[in-house]
């Protein structure tokens, strides 16, 4: 058996291949995880530049820098790049790096498909970027791509649609791989209810992805045929209905926002116990709350469509169903708080980000609860209030926990401690500027400023200026993060990390029982014993 294996793969020394080809043909979960994370970071800056173009234009009333069409392209592309290029790949990167190490597996279950999943992502994003250079400009109808408006897109439309197909294939492949890995590759000692919360949240996320990405693919396929093949899915004259697209889109779109937030919860649930030096409070309830949120995400989609003209019974149903989500979410916030309660806490950078996450995510959650009320949403719909809401749950929640996860696991990945002083500086710059950036947008929205508009009435000038200042400070602060990561990877002026890295961490997760940096291949034989600290 082993002779056969050696004959077929050429290198039994189990070291990475040399040179550039290593990265192209790699099947190693750590290599692929690194590629995902680096790619996500690059896209974070591309999407960030688009955000800064938006905020520059909105710095003052009147038209300053860009054409309205291009402005709308920027809002559309910013969303698509950040969601599909930055946040989702970052979480898949964490999944690749961490899940095999957390469950005691030698690699992901389907390593070749893992490689393809990454390259499909790159291909999808390249097609998306190609739309910036075609006649008629990049898609400008918003990331939701509602017909009939989106059907007026120029030559970019088919490129954007096929890019979504490729990104969808990539996500589905990644999700299938994660499911097979978690169900099939766990160390024998690791029963489901001993899995770290990060693993739990990812498996639930993977189910969401497999269920929703095909629906999105179907919806955009109907857009394609409506535009190029004479179909009438979204055309009332032919018996279709543009609202049908919105239903299909949000059947995808609502679970999609939980794809962005559930792994966030998982990272928070992993970090907070380590720095509180206590087991996670309410492990089982965390698992059930995650599952409940995932289930509910499938039956609340039309709360994005309160103004579309649904029957009253529909408005009421989607309103109440949406409000129920607050219950399992509150269970989670309670559990994080209870984990910290009377803990021997220290506040290293990952913990700082996590504490900020708990507070700021809760603000984002409350504004969500406000908008779940249909009659109230009639006023907030498509204003800056919704922009403030979802940026609060995406930036100081999802992005912050991605940052926290990087600080938390970088020492394990690289063998070097990051610069704690710079890390804290990065945190404080980020947490202050992010609130300067997004908090005023609540006021703008309540006062009636619409989203996706390049110009506005002078009454909105002050808060827009403050928001833009926050945006620039936040954006440029992230360069500090790149510097810190670079310094850590290269080991410039860094302490060596211990194997455990964080005091007591080996009681919390298998990865902390490995050497730092983690060897290229880990757990080729599964560990006999796993942490049981969750109980």
């Amino acid at each position: 058996m082993s002779a056969v294996t050696a004959e077929n793969d050429g290198h039994h020394d189990h070291k990475p291949a040399k040179g550039f080809m290593r990265w192209i043909v790699t099947t190693n979960h750590k290599d692929i995880g690194t590629m995902y994370l680096v790619f996500a970071l690059a896209m974070f800056f591309v999407g960030g530049v688009m955000a800064l173009i938006i905020r520059s234009e909105l710095f003052e009333p009147g038209m300053q820098f860009v054409e309205p069409q291009f402005f709308n392209s920027m809002t559309t592309m910013h969303a698509l790049v950040m969601i599909f290029g930055a946040v989702m790949p970052a979480f898949v990167g964490f999944a690749n790096w961490q899940i095999p190490m957390m469950i005691g597996a030698p690699d992901m279950a389907l390593p070749r498909m893992n490689n393809m999943s990454f390259w499909m992502l790159v291909a999808g994003i390249l097609l998306l970027f190609s739309t910036l250079f075609v006649e008629g400009g990049a898609p400008a109808a918003g990331w939701t791509m509602y017909p009939p408006l989106v059907l007026q897109t120029g030559n970019a439309l088919p490129f954007a649609i096929f890019s979504i197909h490729l990104l969808g294939i990539s996500s589905i492949m990644g999700a299938i791989n994660i499911i097979a890995t978690i169900f099939n590759m766990r160390a024998p000692a690791m029963s489901l209810m001993k899995m770290p919360l990060f693993v739990w949240t990812w498996i639930i996320t993977a189910f969401l992805l497999i269920a929703i990405m095909p629906v999105f693919a179907g919806a955009v396929t109907m857009l394609l045929t409506d535009r190029f093949f004479d179909t009438s899915f979204f055309d009332a004259a032919g018996g279709g209905d543009p609202v049908l697209y919105q239903h299909l889109f949000w059947f995808f779109g609502h679970p999609e926002v939980y794809v962005l937030i559930l792994p966030t919860f998982g990272i928070a649930s992993t970090i907070i116990p380590v720095f509180a030096r206590k087991p996670l409070f309410g492990y089982a309830s965390m698992v059930y709350a995650t599952a409940a949120i995932a289930f509910l995400s499938f039956i609340v989609w039309a709360h994005h469509m309160f103004l579309v003209g649904m029957p009253l019974v529909g408005e009421l149903y989607f309103m109440y169903a949406t409000m129920i989500i607050a219950v399992p979410t509150a269970v989670k916030v309670f559990n994080w708080t209870a984990t910290m309660w009377k803990g021997a806490m220290t506040f290293e950078t990952p913990m700082l980000f996590s504490v900020a996450f708990v507070i700021l995510f809760t603000i984002g959650g409350f504004t969500g609860l406000m908008m779940s009320l249909a009659p109230v949403d009639f006023q907030y719909h498509d204003t800056y209030f919704i922009v403030a809401h979802f940026h609060y749950v995406l930036v100081p929640a999802a992005i912050f926990m991605i940052m926290a996860g990087c600080y938390f696991w970088l020492p394990k990945w690289t063998g070097n401690m990051y610069d704690e002083r710079l890390g804290r500086l990065h945190f404080w710059l980020s947490v202050i500027s992010v609130n300067v950036l997004f908090f005023p947008q609540h006021f703008l929205g309540l006062a009636g400023m619409p989203r996706r508009i390049p110009d506005y009435a002078v009454q909105f000038a002050d808060w827009n200026m403050i928001s833009s200042i926050g945006a620039f400070v936040y954006g440029f602060s992230q360069l500090l993060f790149v510097y810190i990561v670079y310094k850590t990877i290269r080991g410039i002026d860094c302490e060596k990390a211990t194997d455990e890295v964080w005091e007591g961490a080996s009681e919390h997760g298998l990865e902390w029982r490995l050497p730092s940096p983690a060897p290229y291949h880990t757990f080729e034989t599964p560990p006999d014993e796993v942490p049981t600290e969750h109980f």
Partner: protein
């Protein structure tokens, strides 16, 4: 010794990047074609060729590794899970189109006719005289007059064909398990044959729809849902039949054993999935 020790982890993969490149070129070519650029068709064909090379190479690699005994029980479980969840994603893809059909028939054409609690009676002002009946090409009579596709001609015959092919596929599986190679190959050949016959009959059905019944993809929402649902299904029948042909080829080469035949199982699952979708189509598109 634990099961993980022998879990086969390949150390490099060249086909994924080739396949991705091929698929990307095919799609970019298609987009160019739709935009009326002359380069489009060439790109599509090149991309498709690269994609086919990838499929051939990757399948050949997998089957040779499988024959060398590199996949243990645990690897087989990963493959089965992968196939299972891939089929689930396909179910959700069809769900989008079934959902569109359901929504159109039960909600949007009623609302267009001013019935129900949606946009109220304003539709009567926009589209006076429109009645909510199915099939419809909408108040604009989009695509002109057409005939409805009946259920009990070719479509019923196709239902029988596909259901029979499901039975022959299972018969082949029993042959495989009983080490009856003859039964395995005959069963598979019948299944593949029935599959391609189904596609041929569907091609005739489409031809008649376009040339004799005036029913096209452009015949309002009835034509849209009819052709998109049956068309995507027909495409999946083709894919399933190609997969089964590969399995037939491998059976003929004597590849499978009663203990180790994931490729057969995966192909059979896929075939049964295609079968079940057709039953759904026959009920909701043709009969009801």
């Amino acid at each position: 010794m634990s099961t993980n020790v022998a879990y086969y982890i390949p150390h490099k993969a060249v086909w994924p990047i080739i396949g991705t490149g091929g698929l990307m070129m095919m799609l970019a070519g298609f987009a160019n074609y739709l935009n009326g650029n002359a380069i489009g068709p060439t790109m599509m064909i090149l991309g498709l060729m690269v994609f086919i090379v990838m499929l051939t190479g990757w399948f050949a690699l997998q089957s040779s590794e499988s024959e060398l005994g590199m996949y243990n029980h645990s690897v087989g479980i990963s493959y089965r899970m992968g196939m299972m969840w891939f089929i689930f994603s396909e179910v959700m893809f069809f769900a989008a189109f079934f959902g569109a059909l359901w929504y159109t028939r039960n909600i949007s054409i009623d609302w267009l006719a001013g019935i129900g609690g949606g946009p109220g009676k304003s539709s009567n002002l926009l589209w006076p005289g429109f009645e909510s009946v199915w099939p419809t090409n909408g108040p604009g009579n989009v695509g002109g007059d057409y005939e409805e596709m009946g259920a009990f001609g070719l479509p019923f015959l196709n239902t029988l064909l596909l259901l029979t092919s499901g039975v022959t596929c299972t018969w082949a599986h029993h042959g495989l398990l009983a080490k009856n190679r003859d039964q395995l190959i005959k069963g598979l050949m019948t299944t593949v044959g029935l599959g391609f016959l189904f596609v041929a009959f569907q091609a005739i059905e489409y031809y008649e729809a376009y040339h004799e019944m005036g029913l096209t993809l452009g015949s309002g929402v009835y034509g849209s849902t009819f052709f998109m649902l049956t068309g995507f299904h027909g495409f999946h029948v083709c894919v399933g039949a190609i997969i089964l042909s590969v399995v037939l080829f491998r059976s003929w080469k004597g590849h499978f054993t009663p203990e180790n035949h994931f490729a057969f199982e995966g192909a059979a699952w896929y075939w049964h999935f295609v079968d079940v979708v057709w039953v759904g189509l026959f009920i909701f598109v043709y009969i009801l």
